[in-house]
């Protein structure tokens, strides 16, 4: 019998409960506190933590109902142990441990970033070995190398400053667009000219030192300077052109590094994940560049790209299937959990 795994995700502002049986997705319930953060222009950790505690059991009940299962049918629990906001992670980890004790099943503390790649198995089947994952969201921007050895993951590169989603948020604020910035800029850019303004591509000239890393803080500064200069001289800011040009710069840098990572490692497969994977320009550019380079690109549907419990359950299912030992009950929630950590506290 293939194990039923329940996954809990509370690393940022989404409370996610997912249930899988092997690679079969049975439920994926998400409660988001994004509306509560909108008026602050970013995620407020204490607001997110409070919302997780409120949303946890209702999401658990909805997930069981939509899977047509009882909690007692669950064979293992997987929970995001990091990286993320520590106050938020703690709510999920505490609930996961109690579920494990109450049900008498093993608990796996797993890596959130791995989940963004492995989740695609629920939609498109087993991952190729190796696969390069490009993860872009408000909280992270990373390039990962995932190999078949039960979710063994190597970090190739990451952002040196802002995450891509943060860059969208900050530029949106400069342009008077709402939070979260990603969807707002995507919409505004539709009527804009992506070649109108040549915004900088962070680290473009530093391929030797930072082959797969990203930097977006310079972009934000450049946009601020450009917008302020127009406002000072009394000109109207062409919001659509700025949005399209910013989006072009971000997508260009991300897909350039993705293709380089595939080429250098010989990986013929890539997965795009994270909330920013919903960005239409990023998807189109990644698809075109991967096709030209002979790379098969897989992009999970939006509900599996944003933070969710199914991605955590998917990692758990892979670990259970491979017979990897569980985490025990005293593992921590680690805000800076290293990419290479596949099961927290499981390999002592």
């Amino acid at each position: 019998m293939t194990a039923v795994v329940l996954g809990i995700e509370t690393s940022c502002d989404e409370t996610g409960i997912g249930i899988v049986r092997g690679r079969e997705l049975l439920a994926n319930e998400i409660a988001s506190s994004v509306d509560e953060h909108a008026r602050f222009g970013g995620v407020v950790p204490e607001v997110a933590s409070r919302a997780h505690l409120e949303a946890m059991v209702p999401a658990l009940e909805r997930a069981c109902a939509s899977a047509g299962l009882r909690l007692s049918d669950v064979d293992a629990i997987a929970v995001t142990a990091g990286p993320g906001l520590v106050g938020s992670l703690i709510v999920g980890v505490a609930a996961a441990k109690a579920l494990g004790v109450g049900l008498g099943v093993p608990v796996y503390g797993v890596n959130h970033l791995t989940g963004h790649v492995v989740v695609d198995e629920l939609q498109h089947g087993p991952l190729a070995d190796p696969t390069i994952g490009l993860l872009v969201s408000g909280g992270h921007s990373s390039l990962l190398l995932v190999s078949d050895d039960t979710s063994s993951v190597t970090a190739l590169g990451q952002t040196l400053d802002d995450a891509a989603g943060e860059a969208f948020d900050k530029v949106a604020r400069l342009l008077g667009l709402p939070f979260p910035g990603g969807p707002a800029i995507d919409a505004a850019a539709r009527d804009g000219d992506p070649t109108a303004i040549a915004f900088p591509r962070g680290l473009a000239g530093e391929r030797d030192r930072y082959p797969y890393d990203f930097s977006f803080s310079g972009l934000k500064t450049a946009v601020a300077r450009w917008v302020t200069a127009r406002q000072r001289s009394g000109e109207t800011v062409p919001v659509a052109d700025v949005a399209a040009s910013v989006q072009e710069a971000i997508a260009d840098v991300l897909t350039d590094r993705l293709v380089a990572a595939c080429r250098d490692t010989g990986a013929g497969h890539a997965v795009l994940g994270g909330g920013v994977a919903a960005n239409s320009r990023l998807r189109a550019m990644a698809a075109a560049r991967c096709e030209r380079a002979g790379i098969e690109l897989r992009v999970p549907r939006p509900g599996l790209c944003t933070d969710n419990g199914a991605m955590v359950a998917a990692v758990g299912a892979r670990l259970v299937a491979a017979g990897v030992p569980a985490s025990g009950l005293d593992f921590p929630a680690t805000s800076t959990l290293a990419v290479g950590t596949r099961v927290v506290g499981g390999e002592r």
Binding site: E54, G92, G102, V107, P332
Partner: protein, 242 residues
């Protein structure tokens, strides 16, 4: 009346299984920074003695207390309630300290104070019969209203601010809330027919000011299993937005 209780509202994490007034088992761990690590082993040790078929309820200490730790016990309690399909109720954690102090023979008016960081205390006051007459509130010890300031104080916060509060009973068992006392309080309430008033507002997700909470909680012992935050969230954007 068999109850499993959890409290992580202070530096002491505790889990207990109580049958009426009798403590079947209680496990504690003292560390202000390891609630989420320790809750697993503590629950596991007590679980061995639990028969879910005869369990009447899960009791959570709902604080007040430092939020990150406080949420650990409540999240765990809510999850166990879902697994075992039993009701989950809350009890003000300060009430557990007061009940413990009365068991030591304190039969006068009593105050409980626990550390609230930022040089403040979480506090509440009880009359000679043990009824909470003020609080829970949060504020500097020196600002505790003289009109309700009782004769004797207990709790780690009272020990730390003895100069401001007055006569302090400094006993190890009254330093922090303990799950066994939460369970005894809930057992008495449930046995006498009390039920959780889910409208015991204002316990909304964003908390509220301490005065309004204290007023709303006057006379209420069994509470919804939701944290008594008493302070609004600090608005600091994640990632240090600039």
């Amino acid at each position: 009346m068999t109850l499993l209780a959890i409290d992580t509202s202070s530096a002491l994490s505790s889990v207990a299984l109580v049958d009426g007034e009798d403590v079947v088992v209680e496990r504690t761990h003292h560390d202000p920074r390891r609630h989420v690590e320790e809750i697993g082993p503590l629950l596991d040790e007590v679980r061995a003695r639990v028969d879910p078929a005869t369990l009447d309820a899960v009791v959570c200490g709902v604080g007040p207390g430092p939020y990150t730790g406080l949420r650990v016990g409540i999240a765990a309690g809510l999850a166990l309630g879902a697994v075992w399909d039993v009701p989950v109720v809350g009890v003000c954690s300060l009430d557990a300290v007061a009940a413990c102090a009365r068991s030591l023979g304190v039969d006068t008016a009593l105050g409980v104070a626990l550390d609230a960081r930022r040089r403040e205390v979480y506090w509440s006051a009880y009359d000679a019969a043990g009824t909470r007459v003020e609080g829970p509130r949060v504020g500097p010890a020196a600002a505790v209203d003289g009109a309700v300031r009782p004769g004797t104080w207990v709790g780690a916060g009272a020990v730390a601010y003895a100069a401001e509060l007055g006569r302090v009973l400094d006993e190890e068992v009254t330093a922090y809330p303990r799950a066994a006392w939460l369970a005894r309080i809930a057992a008495r309430e449930l046995a006498s027919g009390a039920r959780v008033d889910v409208d015991a507002a204002p316990l909304d997700a964003h908390g509220t000011d301490s005065g309004a909470t204290a007023a709303a909680l006057r006379g209420r012992v069994l509470l919804p299993p939701r944290p008594l935050y008493l302070r609004r969230p600090d608005v600091t954007i994640a990632g240090g937005a600039s």
